[in-house]
């Protein structure tokens, strides 16, 4: 590429600041590995544990529109809050989220999930009960499994009825790390 890094950055910054993007994304470093973070004008839309943009461009375009571009300013506030969270200086995120495309049930579950406090755990069954479907623990598990915004929507705080960690999109070791960071595991 003969386009200099500086020129490249200037274009990407301008595209974001003029509000021309359907979705902007960037890679954010964290103690649990690099994350790909994507945001729209409505708010934070995706966090992927796989930070390779090539793996996500088409899917982002299908979900939000073709104007997909990597641009640091698009995710500045998310990056800052994630940094603070991982440094133990933040126990709640103050971010709008864009959950368009989520089915009504999934949205209900994710809304409830967002209320599970820092440093505490709950179970799939409890969460199911809170959305008025006490026998839908398995369906809640599926929603957790497809959580578009892990960490910020804290599916790592949801464990099995017997206290086992069960599963996690980023790997069980990451789930354990996050719960330790929050002091929920000793």
């Amino acid at each position: 590429m003969t386009v200099s890094p500086d020129l490249d950055r200037r274009f990407r910054d301008a595209a974001a600041s003029e509000g021309l993007l359907d979705v902007g994304f960037d890679v954010v470093d964290s103690p649990i590995g690099a994350l790909l973070v994507a945001a729209t004008d409505r708010g934070l839309a995706r966090i992927f544990f796989d930070p390779e943009p090539e793996h996500h461009l088409e899917r982002l375009a299908r979900s939000f529109g073709p104007r997909v571009l990597r641009s640091a300013p698009s995710v500045d506030s998310v990056r800052r809050q994630l940094d603070e969270y991982f440094e133990g200086r933040r126990d709640a995120f103050e971010l709008d989220v864009d959950l368009r495309g989520a089915a009504p049930f999934a949205r209900q579950v994710l809304d409830e999930l967002a209320r599970v406090p820092y440093g505490q755990t709950t179970t799939y069954g409890t969460l199911a009960g809170r959305v008025g479907a006490p026998r839908a623990a398995r369906a809640v598990g599926t929603v957790m499994n497809r959580n578009p915004i892990p960490i910020v929507l804290p599916c790592h705080r949801v464990v099995g009825a017997n206290g086992s960690l069960t599963g996690y999109g980023g790997g069980l070791d990451v789930k354990e790390k996050l719960l330790r960071l929050e002091g929920a595991l000793l």
């Binding site: 590429m1 003969t2 386009v3 020129l7 490249d8 200037r10 274009f11 301008a14 595209a15 003029e18 021309l20 993007l21 359907d22 943009p53 461009l57 088409e58 982002l60 375009a61 529109g65 073709p66 104007r67 997909v68 571009l69 990597r70």
Partner: protein
């Protein structure tokens, strides 16, 4: 039915054509002015991007936007073919739309070559750069486009 190329995510479009656009602008404007024009070219492309109907010939499309900017930057084009109508100039409209308007059903390469030559006054060497062909092929594409246009008009008058 022919398969139509899907519109790629903008990131991929930008990475794929960025170098060619910058090279083209440097030749026309020099290094410094080319950088400003580069940013503006892709911002214009971005503004029009969600109105594209398919992902065909995106390089020719973005180069016509760049060529428009070269003119806007102050290098006035001198229309060469007086028999062809002036192109309408409307800001914010994809440059490709001007080609469609003028040349209707011409094959894409002829259409692009013709517009770059007559509307933007590019040399055949520059058009060859833009379309990834040789100057001779660019000249042939433009002239066969003109021939085809003339024939179509004659038919229209007779019909």
């Amino acid at each position: 039915m022919e398969a139509v190329a899907a519109i790629p995510p903008f990131e991929r479009f930008y990475v794929e054509h960025g170098d060619v656009v910058l090279g083209f602008l440097r030749k026309r404007l020099g290094r410094q002015a080319a950088e400003d024009a580069f940013q503006e070219t892709f911002l214009r492309a971005l503004r029009a991007y969600d109105r594209l109907e398919h992902g065909e010939h995106l390089r020719a499309w973005v180069l016509t936007i760049a060529a428009r900017l070269v003119i806007d930057t102050g290098r006035r084009a001198r229309p060469v073919a007086h028999e062809l109508p002036e192109l309408p100039v409307e800001d914010g409209r994809p440059a490709y739309a001007q080609i469609e308007h003028l040349a209707g059903d011409l094959p894409p390469t002829e259409r692009a070559a013709l517009v770059l030559r007559y509307a933007y006054d590019l040399s055949y060497a520059d058009i060859a750069d833009a379309l990834g062909s040789s100057p001779e092929a660019a000249r042939q594409a433009a002239s066969s486009g003109v021939r085809r246009l003339r024939n179509e008009r004659t038919h229209d008058r007779l019909a």
